[in-house]
Amino acid sequence: MQEGMIERSHPFRQNGISLISQLQQIQQEHGWLPEPELRRLSAATGEPLIEIYRVATFYKSFSLAPRGRHRVTACCGTACHVRGSAGVTREISKLLGVKPGGTSADGRYSLETVNCLGACALAPLVVVDGEYHGNITPAGTRKLLKKITGPEAGNGAAAER
């Protein structure tokens, strides 16, 4: 593109505040993006609140609602889907008692689905508390979730960063 046009099409990108990494930091701290934090970010950086909200609602990895202490992410991307992610997701959902996209009532687990984690060769993929596990079968999910469902997982304190 020629000079001029880019600036005209993206007027608010000029003094970028690396919004995404700021949001990632907030999310790392709280596990989700609480409204007061985003308002504070907006006030501190001068970035309009709606812009922050727009980015926060655009990406699946940002959550605007509190999430469980243990986070399970099942990939439902094309490669994972072809290799049976639907069955895996159903099984996890049954084991944890959480619907995809939801958090259990006791705030212990949340289950999310994403559309490709970028590791398709290992499909189907499940991420448990930030740890990637490849080639998962429905039968293998129970063992996989042991770490967070078993008694030794306690109250989830061990898995908390």
Partner: protein
């Protein structure tokens, strides 16, 4: 100045300008839905498509966001362009048949049928209102929220924005809020005649403010 060819015509135009601006300057009419002179180009509606490049190796680009380039060959009304434009209008009719602007554009381009599943959206996500709010009013009260099929216009956290000054610019600039004239066959997506039956917006959207003047629907009800 940049030299290029538009519809076989050798033209020279200011550097940094868009193909749409150049075409309009030389009196070539290109339909648009999401373009407004006072706002930054956005490239959402694709209605301003033109063909660029040598015949046989050409491609369709949105002229409102494509800069003039030296030696560029542009065709604004080729068969391919017109076909694509008509298809787009058909899709818009299927999405939002209640818009007068879309109906007018469709009839102007001889779109007389809709082969797609009929929806009745109130928004075509052209982004005019959000750009108006941000660029003209420096309000930043509304914006795009969500992604993909869930994308919509909204305010932060779905709360009434403190930044909104109730200027009403968003509804003024909206191409979808203008009620169409509904023909004898209300169900059809294509407008047929000029019988205005359904009143537009204030009845359904309490907080909206209507600046349509004259508004045929109000006149029909004898309110003005």
């Amino acid at each position: 100045m940049v030299n290029l060819t538009m519809n076989g015509l050798e033209i020279a135009f200011e550097k940094g300008a868009s193909l749409l601006e150049a075409a309009r300057f030389f009196g070539i009419e290109i339909p648009t839905l999401c373009y407004n002179e006072g706002l930054n180009p956005y490239g959402a509606c694709r209605l301003c498509l033109v063909e660029v490049g040598a015949p046989g190796r050409s491609r369709l680009v949105s002229s409102c966001t494509y800069p003039v380039q030296p030696g560029l060959i542009v065709r604004t009304h080729s068969a391919r362009v017109l076909k694509a434009r008509r298809l787009l209008l058909e899709l818009y009719l299927a999405t939002c048949p209640s818009s007068k602007i879309i109906q007018d554009l469709a009839s102007k381009h001889h779109v007389t049928r809709v082969r797609f599943k009929q929806k009745n959206e109130e928004c075509i996500l052209c982004g005019l209102c959000t750009r108006y709010c941000a660029e003209q009013m420096h309000g930043h009260a509304i914006g795009m929220v969500g992604r993909g099929a869930e994308r919509r216009i909204g305010s932060a956290f779905n709360k009434k924005s403190e930044d909104c000054r109730l200027c009403g610019g968003c509804s003024y600039i909206c191409p979808a809020c203008q009620a169409r004239c509904q023909g004898p066959d209300e169900k059809s997506a294509v407008c047929g005649a000029c019988l205005n039956l359904a009143p537009p917006c204030l009845d359904d959207h309490d907080d909206a403010m209507c600046y349509l003047d004259p508004c045929a629907a109000c006149e029909m009800r004898g309110e003005r």
